[in-house]
């Protein structure tokens, strides 16, 4: 789960990370008031959406009066903002973070992520702040300094010093960096982060360090285990795909895609492979849907409804290799769902594994028009065929 900039800053401030004073605004009038309350000539108005590239998309601006703040807020609020990371549909701006401006001398980067290979968090710093770290990594990997640290010991002071010197910091900025680096590392572990980024971290003309922008993502499993209730309360459902959200509430993994063949599979690896197979056979998957290894009848039924709720789906492929999830349970779930929802698209089912005979019997006995497939290749071929045939039949009527 991602947090908004202002939420990440709220947590950062508690760890003693230096920040600029700011206000949250949800209306143009609140934006104007925020400008007056901040009491400095130049303030920054920033759209709060879960996507990077807000500056490039026109969602960040320096304003020099309350009227200007109000006008810019009116332009942003309630409308979609398109950035290089949002896709063409953009994200609707609901809140603005309004912050006092500052004189920037240098822009640095500080971030913490998981190093999967080491199984440890790694604190990264770079002199090239204010740009995407991936761009820096692609251009010059040596420009990124890295200090992996053991979660049990935390980031050690010598590691913070190595980063500080590497960044060329001196005097007050160097000293301030040591506690800032330690705070970011501690917060990453305490708050079950999967990403914590301060970009840019700026050195002001007065020689102070300030976290100008912040990005924070939380490990979803820590949230599921209720380890971070305060962060869970910061969840912004507007930023989530409604189908993906609904699926998650039923313990299903769903990811929207832009094709027209709906797929329902048990297990993430098999689900990804089924998508690959559809594409290789010349079709395009409409989604990734993993009903999990131990799904029950209701979950299967729910999953099926989610699939057919997508208007672009022209045919459905159900590929199940029953292990813990028994084929008869799955078959009953499908039959129940098809009876409940009025399904207009063809359904291709490939069943294998535990209780496969009973599962096939249930489907056969249901009297439903289900196309049976012998194996994965056969299933892919049949579903693409079915999607094609259906679209031709439907098109003259629609």
């Amino acid at each position: 789960m991602n947090l908004h900039e202002h939420q990440a800053k709220q947590i950062l401030s508690r760890y003693g990370v230096p920040l600029l004073t700011g206000r949250l605004a949800e209306t143009p009038d609140e934006a104007a008031r925020a400008y007056r309350e901040l009491g400095v000539p130049v303030v920054v108005v920033k759209a709060q959406i879960h996507a990077g590239g807000r500056g490039k998309g026109g969602g960040v601006r320096l304003v020099r009066s309350a009227d200007e703040a109000r006008d810019f807020a009116a332009k942003l609020l309630g409308k979609p903002l398109v950035t290089p990371q949002t896709g063409p549909q953009g994200r609707v701006v609901r809140k603005l973070w309004i912050e006092a401006g500052c004189d920037v001398e240098r822009e640095l980067y500080l971030g913490c992520v998981l190093d999967r290979k080491l199984g440890q968090p790694v604190l990264m710093a770079s002199k090239e702040g204010g740009v995407e770290i991936e761009e820096v990594a692609a251009r010059d990997p040596s420009a990124i300094l890295k200090q992996p640290f053991d979660v049990a010991y935390g980031l050690r002071p010598f590691q913070a010093r190595a980063l500080g010197w590497g960044l060329g910091l001196q005097g007050e900025a160097f000293t301030s960096f040591l506690s800032l680096a330690a705070a970011v590392a501690r917060m990453f572990v305490d708050r079950d982060c999967s990403l914590l980024e301060i970009n840019p971290l700026v050195v002001t003309r007065q020689g102070a360090l300030v976290a100008l922008d912040a990005k924070m993502a939380i490990d979803d499993r820590a949230l599921e285990l209720k380890k971070q209730p305060e962060l869970e309360a910061m969840r912004d459902v507007h930023e989530e795909d409604p189908l993906e959200r609904e699926a998650a509430q039923h313990g299903l993994n769903y990811v929207s895609m832009d094709g027209n063949i709906g797929c329902m599979v048990n297990g993430a690896g098999l689900a990804m492979s089924t998508m690959d197979l559809i594409q290789l056979a010349g079709g395009r998957p409409a989604n990734f849907l993993d009903v999990g290894g131990g799904a029950n009848k209701d979950q299967v039924s729910k999953a099926f409804k989610l699939l057919v709720a997508n208007p672009s789906v022209r045919a459905v492929l159900i590929n199940i290799f029953g292990g813990i999830l028994r084929c008869d349970v799955l078959a009953q779930g499908i039959v129940d769902a098809v009876k409940e929802v009025h399904v207009k698209v063809p359904i291709v089912v490939r069943l294998e594994g535990t209780n496969v005979g009973a599962g096939r019997d249930i489907l056969r006995a249901s009297g439903l028009k289900i196309i049976a497939a012998a194996d994965m290749s056969d299933a892919a071929k049949k579903v693409i065929e079915a999607a094609g045939i259906k679209s031709e039949v439907l098109s003259p009527k629609s």
């Binding site: 999967r116 499993r221 559809i278």
Partner: protein, 292 residues
């Protein structure tokens, strides 16, 4: 021959009195696995299904039964502690089936295990099986067939699919290992490839990777340098969109890294036979072995 487990492996099931632990302990016993003990804190003294003694601690289970491999079904909030307990009791192999351990707990677990001689498989994995001898996991036993193909995979049901294709073609398996789909794991492809490489009972290896991380690239580097047995690989997620977690916590393309295309490239350059169509894995293995 096989790797990691065989008919002499003495298994302790962590969380045997829970519903998942109980269900799968029963299936493991039915398969012929030598399950000698269960552990559930507070339930010591009970007997599971009238035959398997349950202990309060792993240390006691090891002392009383000589258990030398653990399978963990303990829920996500407590699983890391359970695996640590097994390691502290000196168990050399722990298979952690549990899905949903937090990443920070996985980091703590990894740090803890570094100072022990315990090897962990998983978490978030189907476990491992040496067909006809021992099953330490949740896979359906009957799809496997005894033989000389090693299988190692980051996925559960995809492994079943591949094993099924192999078995249908009379290609039996030496051992099948599911290393799991989490970002931080106890064993990676290289760890398991080394074992298959050294196992005289393994003739070829099927590897099923997926998007996210660099484990497949690391495997490619190892294969190029050391592996003298044929390796056939499939990588799931060729169509996965970037930035989206595909079911497994570790299956995500981040910052343009971890794509299936990159992994295939590395594996192909290392001389691995790459299969793009997941339905073609069995046939490809047969073709490769036919030419060996």
């Amino acid at each position: 021959m096989s790797i990691l487990v065989n008919k002499d492996t003495r298994v302790v099931v962590h969380g045997i009195t829970g519903s998942a632990g109980g269900f799968h302990a029963r299936a493991m016993i039915e398969y012929g696995t030598n399950v000698v003990a269960g552990v559930t804190p507070g339930k010591g003294g009970q007997t599971f299904d009238g035959k398997v003694p349950v202990f309060n601690s792993c240390e006691e289970a090891v002392r009383r039964t000589g258990a030398n491999a653990g399978v963990c079904f303990v829920p996500g909030a407590f699983a890391a502690d359970s695996v640590m307990e097994a390691a502290a009791a000196g168990i050399p192999l722990v298979v952690c089936i549990t899905e949903g351990i937090s990443i920070m707990d996985e980091c703590r677990l990894r740090a803890f295990l570094k100072d022990t001689s315990t090897r962990m498989i998983g978490p978030n994995c189907p476990g491992l099986i040496t067909p006809g001898e021992a099953k330490l996991g949740i896979m359906p036993g009957y799809i496997h067939k005894k033989g000389d193909i090693g299988v190692v995979s980051r996925s559960g049901t995809l492994t079943y699919e591949i094993v099924w294709q192999l078995s249908m073609l009379e290609l039996g398996q030496s051992t099948c290992v599911g290393i799991g789909g989490d970002p931080v794991q106890g064993s990676d492809f290289v760890d398991i490839l080394k074992l298959f490489h050294a196992d005289p009972g393994t003739r070829a290896v099927v590897m099923a990777g997926e998007i996210g991380g660099t484990m497949e690239e690391d495997a490619a580097a190892y294969i190029r340098e050391h592996m003298r047995k044929p390796v056939i690989a499939f990588v799931g997620g060729q169509t996965a969109p970037p930035g989206k977690r595909m079911g497994h916590a570790g299956a995500i393309i981040q910052g343009g890294k971890g794509t299936a295309a990159e992994k295939y490239r590395a594996l192909r350059e290392a001389g691995v036979t790459c299969v793009l169509d997941p339905a073609d894995v069995g046939r490809t293995v047969k073709a490769v072995l036919g030419t060996c």
